[in-house]
């Protein structure tokens, strides 16, 4: 069979249809209303949310009117956008099925998704539990009972970075890059070593000034560039940021023990209960800050146990963050072992800033999951 552009036969079509229908039924009985976002979407809604990176995998075209459109790389953003545009009363429960499109080497770019989004439920804990139950029940309805799980939490990491002694201007950097394996380690190493270049020398000069001389000096610097465009930023914003850099000094350094703690946190991987204990021990120096997110993760494990998921089959992975940028907190994947390898049959997580970026009021929560009928079918065949 042509693996990049497959044609499937009747039995296969019906099996896939039946799986998608089963999943949607499981969603609908829990009060999720089905929607069907258009397959063609304006490119900018994805690029503005997920960043330019997503374009590497997005199938884009220019329509005859010159507009950049794409085959939807996911249905979460269109679904959330729909909720904002139609001013859906919150909490809103939406579900969908249909193809999504992402370019992948040696695999078809089109793949089936059946997903659900829970938008605007005030209690995050209740939302987490509801979404986990929804995904687990839908998988079981499809005949998959023996799955493994992988869980992670971007908020645990963000809390840790905020609590540790880290130069203020670097906190955002660490949080943003936490999931970029390889790059992140290099970034940490650079922060520990401190760097010296022309830019840092310029900052060092500012750093040596008396506090009352700093602002005038920075303002004089920007006045010298009065002919240059500000290009989307304000003068005040630029002045403030340079002053912040100057306050940290030319070569702020990350304490080696702090860097080590961060690396140890990211290396935590294993059965979820003992992994949480490991994190508790590791982060002892900042235990007050970590108590909340650790308790939230423990509550999710309890909820999963209540759903009949064996805790021994749930792995917590410290660096697990999924590679779509709008995830902000709890993330999860369901896996099945099949033949030679493992199949990711479902995944999801919390994206609490996406709704706001689409125009919803600040703090509108959101969590979702998507099941993959093609992988479910393969897993079922292998079982």
């Amino acid at each position: 069979m042509n693996t990049s552009f497959p044609t499937i036969g009747e039995a296969h079509i019906e099996a896939l249809e039946s799986i998608s229908a089963t999943i949607l039924r499981a969603f609908k009985t829990r009060g999720y209303a089905r929607i069907q976002p258009a397959i063609l979407q304006p490119s900018e809604i994805f690029v503005d949310r997920s960043g330019e990176e997503i374009r590497r995998r997005t199938l884009e075209l220019v329509d005859p009117a010159g507009r950049e459109v794409c085959l939807r790389p996911d249905l979460t953003i269109p679904a959330c956008r729909h909720a904002v545009e139609t001013k859906k009363p919150l909490p809103a429960r939406l579900c969908y099925r249909g193809p999504a499109f992402r370019w992948r080497k040696n695999e078809p770019a089109a793949f089936a998704q059946s997903g659900a989004e829970l938008i605007g439920l005030a209690s995050r804990a209740e939302g987490d539990t509801e979404m986990l139950a929804l995904a687990a029940r839908a998988l079981r309805a499809c005949g998959l009972t023996h799955f493994r799980m992988m869980v992670g939490d971007l908020e645990l990491f963000a809390t840790l970075v905020d609590a540790l002694e880290v130069p203020a201007q670097w906190r955002g950097r660490l949080k943003r890059h936490f999931w970029r394996t390889g790059y992140f380690e290099k970034l940490l190493a650079r922060m520990v070593a401190g760097a010296t270049n022309a830019a840092e020398r310029a900052i060092e000069d500012l750093h040596r000034l008396k506090p009352e001389d700093l602002r005038p000096a920075v303002e004089a610097l920007i006045d010298k560039e009065a002919d240059a465009p500000l290009a989307g930023r304000t003068r005040a914003e630029i002045v403030e940021r340079l002053m912040l850099q100057a306050a940290d000094g030319a070569s702020p350094r990350l304490r080696p023990d702090v860097a080590e703690l961060i690396l140890n946190f990211l290396a935590v991987k294993g059965p979820a209960r003992s992994a949480l204990e490991q994190i508790r021990t590791l982060t002892k120096p900042v235990e007050d800050a970590m108590a909340g997110p650790l308790a939230a993760m423990a509550a999710r494990l309890d909820a999963l146990e209540g759903l009949g998921v064996d805790p021994g089959r749930i792995a917590f992975v410290g660096h697990f963050g999924r590679n779509l940028e709008y995830y902000t907190g709890f993330v999860f994947e369901f896996w099945c072992d099949a033949g030679g390898g493992a199949l990711e049959v479902a995944g999801g997580g919390r994206y609490d800033t996406l709704m706001e970026s689409l125009g919803a009021p600040r703090g509108t929560t959101a969590i979702g999951c998507a099941l993959q009928p093609e992988k479910i079918l393969m897993a079922r065949g292998a079982a």
């Binding site: 960043g51 330019e52 465009p229 290009a231 340079l242």
Partner: protein, 234 residues
């Protein structure tokens, strides 16, 4: 005798003149003939080479697709055109002309931005504040994406630019640019500065070989003779 080898060279401008000087120094002379499909030429005393005079971007595309065997064009254009350069094009020799850098430049008023790491902070802060991404004007979308990804920057969007890219920040169509520069003077004139670690590529005219085209023994032998004349060991 096997099918001819196709060598693509620039059809106009400074690159054409500078290449002619390099070739003349190596004792390679060409005779231009007007062919049915655009300009053609032959190399005096060398059969088996079909010289095509094309635009620099056509040469880059021809190398990447395999439509030409050898080509002379800017390294920047080849890298921008090739999705997977290791498997499509090999650079044989930098020719010592057509020097230019592909760089990331930001407004000089951004006195707090020196490095790509600073730019990363700015991009993320802008995305959080304005609910949209900072825009990078460029005709080098592929090079930009690769370089920004290696610098860990995700919060930006590319605005395709066809000309006068350096004017985009002043015109308000983008905040940042990725463009080619030789002296940097045009950037300065437009109120822009190159980031300390913002050089994406130091480019020059290259003699390059397509890995996608049909290389039989006859063509290989022909290429060896030509490359030897140009002082290149193949």
């Amino acid at each position: 005798m096997s099918e001819p080898l196709t060598l693509a060279i620039p059809s106009k401008g400074r690159l054409k003149e500078q290449l002619a000087a390099v070739l003349a120094k190596s004792g390679v002379t060409m005779t231009q003939t007007a062919g049915a499909r655009g300009y053609r030429a032959t190399i005096d005393g060398m059969d088996g080479i079909d010289v095509m005079l094309l635009s620099s971007s056509e040469i880059a595309a021809g190398l990447v697709s395999g439509d030409v065997h050898l080509g002379v064009t800017g390294e920047d254009l080849v890298r921008e055109t090739a999705p997977d350069i290791e498997t499509s094009v090999a650079f044989l020799k930098g020719l010592g002309f057509g020097f230019a850098d592909v760089v990331v430049a930001v407004p000089r008023s951004w006195i707090d931005v020196f490095t790509m790491a600073d730019l990363d902070d700015i991009c993320a802060a802008y995305a959080a504040k304005h609910r949209k991404r900072l825009r990078v004007a460029t005709k080098y979308a592929r090079l930009t994406r690769g370089f920004f990804a290696r610098a860990g920057i995700a919060d930006y969007r590319i605005v395709p630019s066809v000309g006068a890219t350096e004017g985009a920040p002043t015109a308000g169509s983008a905040e940042i640019i990725v463009d080619i520069t030789t002296t940097g003077a045009t950037l300065v004139a437009n109120g822009l500065k190159i980031l300390d670690d913002g050089v994406i590529l130091k480019s020059q005219a290259q003699l390059a070989m397509s890995l996608k085209s049909d290389w039989d023994d006859g063509r290989r032998a022909t290429a060896d003779v030509l490359l030897a004349k140009l002082g290149i060991e193949s």
